[in-house]
């Protein structure tokens, strides 16, 4: 029964992913056409200067020929519909092609190399954030749940609400202003000093650059996470077995960390796994503010330079991660609650 559900869910997921990639392809092909045509004109004109000893007629013919070759290379001679299909098919085969303008630091223009270069940096920042926030959140949430309406509980729910609409990038701007310029403790951006130190100093230098964005992100999201965990734990604390445990004289610490945390763990783990998945996509604006050269920054540069292959590749990866988290969540719930079925009636 569960296997059937699993297969059905995964197939639905794959189909949905294909539909989404086609949508992106349709959207981007429209944009790409103008940009690519303009780039071809520019390139051909640049190369034409190099031709020597040719008559104007020959030159014109050469330019036309070059243009035709380039247009064929970019599939611009084919109808819009076909181009949409081809780009979608390429993306689905993980063949993201090469970028139009952007380069990896080693000069490689393949989209995979460019993304592969940015991805680890995003993971270091945002995945570390999720881990730190989860650890702090569990501790804070547990202690808040132990005394509902106590000072810690009230403080957490208040700060959660106060920071609710606070944009992380604005807090980042303030942090940079105060801790990089007014009181220069931390660097204002980037991932390493210039010139970069070598050896163990390089690691320290990296951590030094990491601390301000990490601090900002953790400070902002720890409260909400603690509040959520407090809610999960609190609903478990009201179960009868907790009362029974307390009645048996089991110390409060063990009730909290042994009994309650254990039963709350599945819900917490789901939350953590989902945020780990979404953390890989990074955050466009926070990375921009801190000059952190990760996926978010890459994406924004690609938007500005209209570099469609890079955009397409990044979006495809982000959508894939979203999809993975979504399906995983469904599968976990399906496993925990057999009543959930595809198309099932409640």
């Amino acid at each position: 029964m569960y296997r059937k559900y699993l297969v059905k869910r995964v197939i639905y997921g794959i189909l949905m992913y294909v539909v989404m990639i086609f949508t992106y392809s349709a959207l981007f092909n429209r944009v790409a056409e103008e940009t690519v045509r303009a780039q071809i004109e520019e390139q051909v004109a640049k190369e034409a200067i190099k031709y020597r000893n040719v008559t104007p007629e020959q030159l014109r013919a050469l330019i036309e020929e070059q243009k035709a070759i380039k247009i064929r290379q970019h599939h611009l001679d084919q109808p819009y519909f076909l181009r949409v299909v081809w780009r979608a098919a390429d993306t689905l085969r993980l063949d993201f092609g090469s970028s139009t303008l952007m380069k990896a630091p080693n000069g490689d223009r393949s989209v995979l190399a460019i993304i592969g270069n940015a991805l680890p940096r995003t993971i270091v920042l945002f995945t570390t954030e999720v881990l730190v926030v989860t650890a702090l959140g569990i501790v804070l949430g547990l202690y808040a749940a132990r005394r509902p309406n106590g000072p810690l509980d009230r403080a957490i729910s208040l700060v959660t609400m106060v920071t609710n609409g606070l944009p992380a990038w604005w807090l980042g701007m303030l942090m940079i202003m105060f801790f990089s310029y007014a009181v220069p403790i931390f660097p204002s951006g980037g991932i390493q000093s210039n010139p970069a130190p070598a050896g163990a100093a390089a690691v320290l230098d990296f951590l030094w650059h990491l601390s301000l964005p990490l601090l900002t992100l953790v400070f902002l999201s720890v409260w909400g996470t603690a509040y959520l965990i407090r809610n999960i734990v609190l609903s478990n604390l009201q179960e009868d077995y907790v009362m029974a445990a307390r009645a048996r004289g089991i110390p409060e610490r063990r009730v909290l960390f042994g009994h309650t945390l254990r039963t709350s763990l599945p819900a917490i783990m789901t939350m953590v796994i989902l945020s780990l998945f979404s953390s890989i996509a990074g955050n466009i604006i926070v990375e921009g503010i801190f000059g952190w050269p990760g996926i978010g920054n890459l994406y924004f540069i690609a938007v500005q330079q209209n570099d469609v292959p890079v955009l397409m590749g990044t979006l495809a990866i982000e959508t894939f991660l979203n999809m993975l988290g979504f399906i995983l969540l469904d599968l976990v719930y399906g496993l925990l609650d057999p009543r959930i079925k595809v198309g099932g009636k409640a």
Binding site: M16, M161, G165, L166, P167, W170, A281, V303, T319
Partner: protein, 465 residues
């Protein structure tokens, strides 16, 4: 559910709601914002800000990147505050060449740091000859400016900083020629000299000369039909206004107040549309089931899986949307928020006995949906609405921050974008960065308070044992 029932329900809801302290605080802040959004544009120091935000000439008489006026409270050496001084009644003299009016303008200088500039301006037409004289508290007096010209559209301006260097040096010379001859016009500011005691150190460490400065602006009407309205003195201060000015000389307080309107419009419009769409889709999918359910659930998955901010940014970059197109795009992406919960609640209600009874009495589908299912979902929808507004406001600010927003309107995101791109952080212009973000945060906070108060009423289970 009749109208009367609805009102009674609303009254009960309010009774419950008013018990929650944070809910009242949130409602209070929101009410403050709404009042400020309505009244604000009329009471701000620059009422034309909405239309002229990007117009440099509208702001040119303000100081550049000046801190707020209240920082004087925390400073040992106070800066001159930006202000507007109207001219007194003119003394009129008829001369052969035309009417000559002398407007007295008194400026009280009490600060330690001189203003950035003094601008004398008036409107008029025809040909005029102008002169500007000053008598300082120490009795020294001189002519600062003399000129003539044809008046055109807009203000005729005399700026001490640009037009009066020679006049100020002449003033110093009239008291002490030795000091005056040592002053280099290229390295001194006229305003700094004008408001300093005349002594040999006045260029390097000027001592402020406090007291009343009596200016006289002479306007001689030289041609037939020439006219001039009462002039005014604009003091372009060392500190300025409630929240200071930015690098483009714009008054930040005005911008922040004008921005409230757009935050509210964007937040309310999108959240109302998205919640209605989400509720309708959720109920339809749950109640009709079958193909409706399948199609809407697939659509939900599609939109849910789109990475919101990247997608929003790409669309904004391609279509350069106006604020209304932006709202439409956000609505297309955000209706998924209430969809799933509504769907599952509606599935439960559908099986309730009162729905069955209503069906047995011959009610149609529409009647059941709008009379029985939707009313139960209403309070929940309001909570979702309140909780989704801050997100939308932050998204608008984020897109604006990247320079992809609608630049024809003033939003907090637009102000922050200017701050970010024009070096507010490096130059520590905190009065430019903090207020707009604080407003976003405050707005988000008020809706969080309201939403969580509603949540407490709707889910009493979370109240503790």
């Amino acid at each position: 559910m009749s109208v009367k029932d609805g009102l009674a329900g609303l009254r009960d809801f309010w009774k419950e709601y008013s018990k929650v302290g944070s809910g009242k605080v949130g409602l209070g802040i929101l009410a403050f914002f709404v009042v400020l959004a309505i009244v604000g544009p009329f009471v701000v120091p620059f009422p034309g800000a909405t239309e002229h935000w990007q117009d440099i000439t509208y702001w040119m008489d303000n100081p550049r990147a000046a801190p707020p006026a209240w920082v004087n409270l925390f400073r040992a050496r106070k800066g001159a505050v930006s202000e507007r001084v109207a001219a007194g009644a003119p003394s009129v003299a008829e001369a052969a060449s035309g009417q000559r009016r002398a407007y007295p303008i008194a400026y009280e200088y009490r600060a330690d740091k001189p203003p950035r500039d003094l601008i004398f301006r008036f409107k008029g037409r025809g040909k005029v000859a102008l002169s500007l004289e000053v008598t300082r508290p120490d009795g020294s007096a001189s002519e600062l400016y003399r000129g003539q010209g044809e008046l055109g559209e807009g203000f005729k301006r005399i700026s001490v900083e640009h037009d009066a260097m020679g006049g100020v040096i002449a003033l110093v010379n009239s008291v002490d020629e030795f000091v005056g001859s040592g002053l280099d016009p290229a390295s001194n500011r006229p305003c700094a000299l004008l408001f300093a005691e005349i002594d040999p150190d006045m260029a390097d460490s000027p001592r402020p000369l406090k007291g009343e400065y009596a200016f006289t602006l002479g306007i001689e009407l030289k041609s037939e039909g020439a006219a001039a309205e009462a002039p005014e003195l604009l003091v372009s201060g060392e500190v300025s206004g409630i929240l200071g000015t930015d690098v483009s000389k714009r008054d930040i307080f005005t911008g922040v107040v004008v921005g409230i309107k757009w935050a509210l419009v964007i937040g309310f419009l999108t959240s109302i549309i998205t919640v209605i769409a989400g509720v309708v889709f959720g109920v339809v999918a749950a109640y009709f089931g079958g193909a409706w359910d399948w199609a809407l659930t697939r659509l939900y998955e599609f939109v849910y899986l789109l990475p919101v901010l990247p997608f929003l940014i790409v669309l904004s970059a391609i279509y350069k949307p106006s604020i209304y197109t932006f709202i439409v795009i956000v609505c297309l992406l955000f209706w998924t928020g209430p969809y799933k919960p509504v769907y599952s609640i509606a599935l439960q209600i559908k099986e309730e006995t009162f729905v069955e009874a209503s069906k047995a009495l011959g009610s149609g589908r529409m009647r059941i949906i709008f009379r029985h299912i939707v009313p139960i979902l209403l309070p929940y929808s309001f909570a979702v609405m309140a909780l989704s507004i801050p997100g939308v406001i932050v998204y608008e600010a984020s897109v604006s921050l990247l320079g992809l927003g609608d630049s024809s309107i003033v939003t907090w995101g637009q102000i922050l974008e200017a701050a970010l791109s024009q070096g507010a952080m490096i130059n520590n212009l905190w009065w430019w960065v903090i207020p707009p973000g604080l407003m976003i945060a405050l707005m988000g906070m008020s809706f969080a308070f309201i939403g969580s108060a509603m949540d407490k009423i709707l889910h009493p289970k979370l109240k503790t044992r």
